[in-house]
Subunit: 321 residues, 2 copies
Amino acid sequence: MQTFDTLSGIFNERFSKNHFNISPESLYEPCNYFLSLGGKRVRPVICLMGHELFEPIGEDAWNAATAIELFHNFTLVHDDIMDDAALRRGQQTVHSKYSSSTALLAGDVMMVAAYQYLSKIKVNTLKPILQIFNKTAIEVCEGQQLDIDFEKKDRVSLKDYIQMITLKTSVLLAASIKIGAVLGGASEGNCNHLYEFGRNLGIAFQIQDDYLDAFGNPEKFGKEPGGDIRQNKKTALLVYAMENSTEKGKKELQDLLHTDPESKVANVLQFFRNCGVDAWAKELKQQYMDTALFHLEETAVISSRKKNLTDLAEFLVQRDY
Amino acid sequence: MQTFDTLSGIFNERFSKNHFNISPESLYEPCNYFLSLGGKRVRPVICLMGHELFEPIGEDAWNAATAIELFHNFTLVHDDIMDDAALRRGQQTVHSKYSSSTALLAGDVMMVAAYQYLSKIKVNTLKPILQIFNKTAIEVCEGQQLDIDFEKKDRVSLKDYIQMITLKTSVLLAASIKIGAVLGGASEGNCNHLYEFGRNLGIAFQIQDDYLDAFGNPEKFGKEPGGDIRQNKKTALLVYAMENSTEKGKKELQDLLHTDPESKVANVLQFFRNCGVDAWAKELKQQYMDTALFHLEETAVISSRKKNLTDLAEFLVQRDY
């Protein structure tokens, strides 16, 4: 069992090879540019960790991890077009550096490249892996569509919000560890527990992300808090505050959202604190984290082998405060 | 061996079932809308015909044909975004009826749905089918990128143009018939001949398309000719005229392309006629058609079984004049 940092290092080295044809350069240079921006590589590494619970890492696990990271990057490139985001990891996004058409095609070709790696998997496990991957890929698209739909809605329920982040964020983390486990020959019961570990961890992670964007320590968080508030993004915090205020409070919050950005962030944060959103978010995150750890606990593997996964979970969800 | 019309009818009936989840409707209604616009279904039918050369059509062939048609529709939805095309088959495109974001996601989800059908194929042929499909999918993206690149270039060689249409259009036709043949248990030699049949037929078809857009009979062609000329699209005709004119002629043609659209079409057509582009295009198309038919001839199957494929080839390439 290797730590996150060790596996991430080895994965990054392997992943830095060229995944595409040489020509046309106008298509592949943008792909290579985007992949070179890096990232934490959480999804491929959790796939490798899920695999290592049961079996040493072999070619199939590397291929699956590579496919997962390529798929994740495809979603980022397309999401950036939809959000018209100028920056990703502090660098220009593909559509802003090149063009929307090129970004669209670069994303498409990354998705197909993901399937190229999957198709290398030994034939006896290829079908179940493809089925998990396809189902997850579809769910991620559904989650992104729901996120777009929510932007146009005045009110979103907490249930709908959790459903959206489950699809958009958590199922890929869940599928990543499950795919690693399936390739490691894990039983169906263990695979399902690990899936639930990843799914709940993903939700806790997203709630944490929403929390940090509002209440994070700017020095540790690396950016000024309040970005989501400035954009009126539907976050767990806003959804909770809307659901748990009086009619008068709802009206007040709705009005605040349409005020001057300068004063908006401070006023909305004060509103959040007044109705206890900060404590609630920490509590909700902890609930999902506890459920995640319960499923890891239930996975029939000796505890010492799970330590690196527990550490990763704590790192992802406790980071920066 | 069934005719194109028979197979197309049966395929359309099967294809009219729902391929997606129910929710979110905001994602799947646009997908279903686009698929309902119809089309000739040439690619899935040629897949079925390639299969029927060797074996009666079974579930695997239907699944492959469905995957191919879903993939083709994914490319159309994304191409329409890139071209900002308002209409497809006389109806609104997905991005103009809904939004670019929804069209992007609808395309993405259609591509994954294609892989869902492929993953149903029996495990003994799944790998070779995935490999052909993946390679082709990547080539189609490359062809689209080259087409975009050509728009910005003043001059494109005939060789580069043929390479672009091969990737953008022909390889999917070629892969469709090859996939059908592989699933039918055809030998490698036969599969390769059928691939070359499809590839050359696809090129002949595209040259025909370019020809009809310029010289087609408006009554039979169903639209006013000259659309490509109006848009200064790099077609086989323009590429040939540029390559085969004197420096003075090249300059004249270049200037004509920047004149008033009213007079441009007639003047460019006259220029084309003066340097014999119309006869040349017919000749070039016939060369590719002959090569296609040669490869069909070389396929080791009794001639009578190939008749419907020959008829389809003639229909596709001789249509409307």
